[in-house]
């Protein structure tokens, strides 16, 4: 996938759970397009209007903890978030994000160095994130996972692979 992109930072805290990303009462809405209007509703309801395609969410530890609801990464992918850069992720969310074409990067230091509204550049080839003069290393993502993200997730990736 395209290895270089820049985005505006939205900064969230530690333990951003799946019920914050999309509360239970909105899960029965008909489509992801309807649900995405309630992203982060209990914490920052205004973000649904403000997040633009390519924006980057920077968060603390244990992003996506809680339930297995796949609508959580699905709506972030539908909002076309460029990527999330957190100190760490909950494991079910981690799998679900890649399966839905949402790129996750891990870094411990960026969070404490950046502010909301900053521009951050991601260089996947070199596994780096750049903020102004500072460069941060992120763990490299295997090529097949990047291809899956580029295809839009596991299902489109499988269909592409199977020629369906």
């Amino acid at each position: 996938m395209n290895g270089n992109f820049t985005g505006r930072v939205w900064k969230l805290g530690d333990d951003i759970d799946t019920d914050i990303i999309i509360p239970t009462q909105f899960l029965a809405l008909k489509s992801v397009e309807d649900m995405k209007r309630y992203v982060f509703y209990p914490l920052r309801p205004e973000l649904a209007e403000l997040i633009q395609p390519g924006d980057i969410i920077v968060a603390g530890k244990n992003f996506g903890c809680g339930s297995s609801r796949e609508q959580a990464p699905e709506i972030l992918a539908a909002l076309r978030v460029g990527c999330i850069i957190a100190k760490s992720y909950a494991r079910i969310f981690y799998r679900n994000a890649f399966n839905n074409g949402l790129l996750l990067l891990e870094n411990n230091e960026l969070y404490d160095s950046c502010s909301e509204g900053d521009q951050v550049s991601v260089d996947l080839k070199n596994s780096q994130v750049v903020l102004g003069e500072k460069t941060f290393q992120v763990a490299s993502i295997p090529e097949d996972l990047l291809q899956m993200v580029e295809a839009g997730g596991l299902v489109p990736f499988m269909r592409k692979r199977n020629g369906k």
């Binding site: 339930s67 297995s68 796949e70 760490s88 269909r159």
Partner: protein
């Protein structure tokens, strides 16, 4: 170098002699289960995107309607209908309104040594019977339902050695809250939490499930207890046989070992809005409550209902507090009826609900309003999970919830317990 129970189950499931943490395996699953939280999405992917025709084995794919049951809206009714039609078409086991999915799985399907994948985070509950259960999202689940296989990374194991005896008024629920408070909401991220020690050897299956069920609240991939005579007796009394009775080797490697003594444990409570923000109930101060809830896959079984009934017997709850009680399954409900517990609940002023996820899921029953406070035996106290974004959830044992419903404020159950 030996292996832990979890490593042995994953080795068996992937056809290997030995697996080590960090290794990625492709494993065959023994069972997979999905509930009405997300099954409509699985069905969409299965039928409209993958164009799949068959589930991998109709006896090993189970659908359970437990999250919004009975349906509270036309939308959820439609989800249930979709599940019912799919289950009939593929001739797979289907449950609706008979209990919380994990309790049904434990009562009707789980045996020691299985690998079980389900589209629900609390699948780790099955470790109470010595089975490796882990939760996934609907995309992974759909692939499992279609192929019977999944890729998994072999996790590190953490060992929790529990000794001593519970003091009256203190329960497995208090222990797991204490552990999560100590290690944090990501303290076991991606790992197995293995519970053992002389105390756990005497734990009932209910108590073992209480520990394993909340493992995910510390980020764990699974919780596990070594299966023994108590587990064998549980499954055999229900007409099933253990698949494998794995024990961890003496020289198995644990990333860390933690020790707990139950003699020193007191009633614990998680305060809003994080499961790892845990303090003793004695330190909570004066906190008024609007609602109590006893139920969920963590704490709605017969032993918890007995603990609550002991406190509520012959008394009336505070007139300005609601107490909602949902037995975890039909079997638990019938047992509670036979023991006269339901009479006690209804007499004291509680509302007894059908077996389902109920208040813990926060969308179909007992939703709380702005500024309201809930004390719950549910699994999570995330901001807004039980209703309004500006509401508060405290997590505690069934005994603490019952004691608090009587006084109208968070109350230590000791002194009210015989």
């Amino acid at each position: 170098m030996g292996m832990t129970i979890g490593e042995k189950i994953l080795a068996m499931a992937s056809g290997k002699e030995v697996v080590r943490p960090g290794e990625i395996i492709t494993a065959k699953v023994d069972l997979c289960m999905s509930n009405d939280g997300t099954t409509h999405l699985n069905i969409d992917i299965f039928e409209n995107q993958l164009h799949a025709e068959k589930v991998f084995d109709p006896e090993k794919v189970i659908f359970i309607v437990d999250h919004n049951v009975p349906s509270e809206s036309a939308k959820t009714a439609q989800v249930h209908k979709k599940m019912r039609i799919f289950a009939q078409k593929h001739n797979i086991p289907f449950y609706e309104g008979t209990g919380v999915c994990h309790q049904i799985m434990i009562e009707d399907f789980i045996v020691p040594g299985q690998l079980v994948i389900a589209a629900d985070s609390h699948t780790c509950s099955y470790g109470g019977l010595g089975a490796f259960g882990t939760g996934v999202g609907c995309t992974d689940f759909t692939s499992v339902m279609n192929t019977g296989e999944i890729w998994l990374m072999v996790p590190e194991s953490l060992k929790f050695v529990i000794e001593g005896n519970f003091k009256p008024g203190v329960y497995a629920r208090d222990l797991i809250l204490k552990i999560i408070g100590d290690i944090g909401a990501n303290g076991a991220n991606y790992k197995i939490m293995e519970f053992g020690g002389s105390a756990v050897k005497n734990f009932t299956i209910d108590d073992r499930v209480v520990l394993c069920n909340m493992a995910v609240e510390a980020g764990a991939k699974s919780g596990l207890v070594e299966p023994d005579e108590i587990a064998i007796e549980y499954v055999e009394s229900r007409g099933r046989k253990a698949k494998h009775l794995y024990k961890s080797d003496e020289d198995a490697v644990y990333e860390n070992t933690y020790h707990y003594n139950l003699d020193e444990l007191e009633p614990m409570i998680a305060i809003p809005h994080c499961v790892d923000d845990v303090v003793p109930v004695t330190q909570i101060g004066e906190v008024k409550i609007d609602q109590g809830f006893i139920g969920s896959c963590n704490n709605g079984r017969i032993e918890e209902l007995r603990a609550a009934a002991q406190i509520l017997q012959g008394k009336k709850i505070n007139p300005y507090v609601k107490l909602l009680i949902s037995p975890a399954s039909k079997a638990v409900y019938l047992q509670a009826l036979a023991e006269g517990l339901i009479d006690i609940f209804v007499e004291c002023g509680a509302m007894v609900l059908n077996p389902n996820c109920s208040v813990c899921w926060g969308s179909c029953q007992g939703v709380i309003g702005e500024g309201e406070t809930l004390i719950s035996t549910g699994t999570r106290n995330f901001k807004g999970r039980a209703g309004h974004p500006n509401s508060s959830i405290y997590l505690a044992s069934a005994a603490t919830v019952a004691a608090s419903a009587l006084t109208g404020k968070i109350t230590d159950p000791r002194g009210q317990v015989l």
